[in-house]
Symmetry: C2
Subunit: 281 residues, 2 copies
């Protein structure tokens, strides 16, 4: 596995590989790789001649009081994990390689970025879209792989790629969960052991919603209230949101129909966790 920290060298190598008609898959990550990331890398490796994993804790997607400084980092473990999962290239630029002095260009996806997580994280998706746009231009992938756990991110990046004619196929991959159902996340390491136990309430509330839908319930308000009840049993420190929306437009639905995304964000202590489920109703 080749490791690059600089953009020009990486671009040169990829141009050389593409000239040999090699297909390129990209797995953009913020590092601290877990089984969720590994599943993306393995999928990319199975579908492309060359798999690029990027590791970049992107400052522009963190709010001023968020965890940019303390976000967990472990380059050695990440290199090992990426290599083992089948990555051919690891791209780990320092911040000033991605955002040199005077940087100032941002990509904004209207209508999707100020909903759900965007309400409490106002510039988050602008930062996500911009850095992914840059990574697409640097790596020129044929396919890019994102976890379904960040459901809103996946919808926004899909729309950005279509709207800006990027010619990259965006592929969403299933959420990987712990045994008790907690979605794998680099931020799970923040949880105390008590918080960790209580955090399983996120997926319990989603499973409860799924069961209600399977039993015929279509009223979003009733499902929402049952989910809140399940969450409250775990005494979360904050329920940021529980929302039932159209999976493509992210607009709230009152009666469930078609592809529905049920998404939530909950805080235990200082740790904000997200989870979701997509139901075909």
């Amino acid at each position: 596995m080749r490791i690059y920290h600089k953009i020009p060298e990486l671009k040169e190598y990829i141009a050389f590989q593409k000239a040999k008609w090699r297909s390129v898959g990209l797995v953009p990550t913020m590092g601290f790789l877990h089984e969720g990331h590994v599943s993306l890398i393995e999928k990319s490796a199975s579908e492309n001649d060359l798999t690029v994993v990027s590791i970049f804790v992107n400052p522009t997607q963190f709010g001023p009081n968020e965890d940019y400084e303390t976000y967990p980092r472990d380059f050695e473990a990440d290199s090992q994990a990426a290599r083992n999962a089948g990555a051919d290239i690891l791209f780990a630029p320092p911040p000033d390689e991605m955002y040199p002095d005077g940087y100032g260009t941002y990509v904004y996806v209207e209508g999707l970025s100020d909903l759900l997580c965007g309400k409490s994280r106002p510039d988050h998706f602008r930062g996500v879209a911009s850095v992914v746009c840059k990574l697409f231009n640097i790596v020129t992938p044929d396919r890019a792989y994102f976890g379904q756990k960040d459901a809103q991110q996946l919808v926004i990046i899909g729309k950005m790629a279509r709207d800006l004619n990027m010619g990259v196929k965006i592929i969403g991959c299933p959420i990987i969960r712990e045994e008790d159902g907690l979605a794998k996340s680099s931020r799970n390491t923040y949880l105390s052991s008590d918080e960790r136990k209580r955090a399983a309430a996120l997926c319990r509330s989603l499973y409860r919603a799924q069961e209600m839908v399977q039993a015929g319930q279509r009223n979003a308000g009733i499902i929402h209230d049952a989910m809140i009840q399940t969450l409250k049993e775990a005494s979360p420190d904050l329920i940021d949101y529980v929302e039932i929306v159209n999976a493509d437009t992210l607009q709230p639905v009152e009666l469930l129909a078609g592809r529905v995304l049920i998404a939530l964000a909950v805080r235990f202590g200082q740790t904000r966790l997200i989870d979701n489920i997509v139901l075909e109703v």
Copy 2:
């Protein structure tokens, strides 16, 4: 010369050409081609294996009370002019090919877009950056050619291409002028014959500034006032701005030094004209 109206067909043809190692130059235009555009096409044809001219009157860069509907269009004459100048491909998409229903992704270049023309045209450069980003992704040019007449646009696109790692070389080309010095512009056709005569005051005021600088004047305020005086002799209907700025940052300078852009926007009747000069001081 091949003519394309649809994005997928154009992309397919260009991918086929690039696979044969052909270099691609792009000249983005809004059509109604004049000698300024022709000079860009000729330069691209001399530097690239394949020259793509796009003709698209981009709705997102016009304000609500601007001339999108009335902007001059002449596809037959443009095809002829592009072919004669050496274009290999004409790309002329209809609006809904570029902006399908539900379109919503925009590129914004901070710090440069709300100055000069951006003050009176608040969303203009967001529309320009977004459509050029799309064209770059569709055409994947090695080089793209823009007229120096739209000086602010050239700076913004250069910054966008660098910031977003687009890998396109942005090439600015000299302003082409009428005999009396008026910068060629598709909008010159709006002018009455009286307005047309008076409009030469734009470049006269720039030449006056240039002479003052050559004579040793470095005080931006004094040069500005002299330019206003020259403009006023032609009784313009509005002097939108006359500004003396750093040619890279577009920030106003008080004492001229380094690369300085002197830019102005003036209205005769309903027609807003721009012009500029770059001086190495």
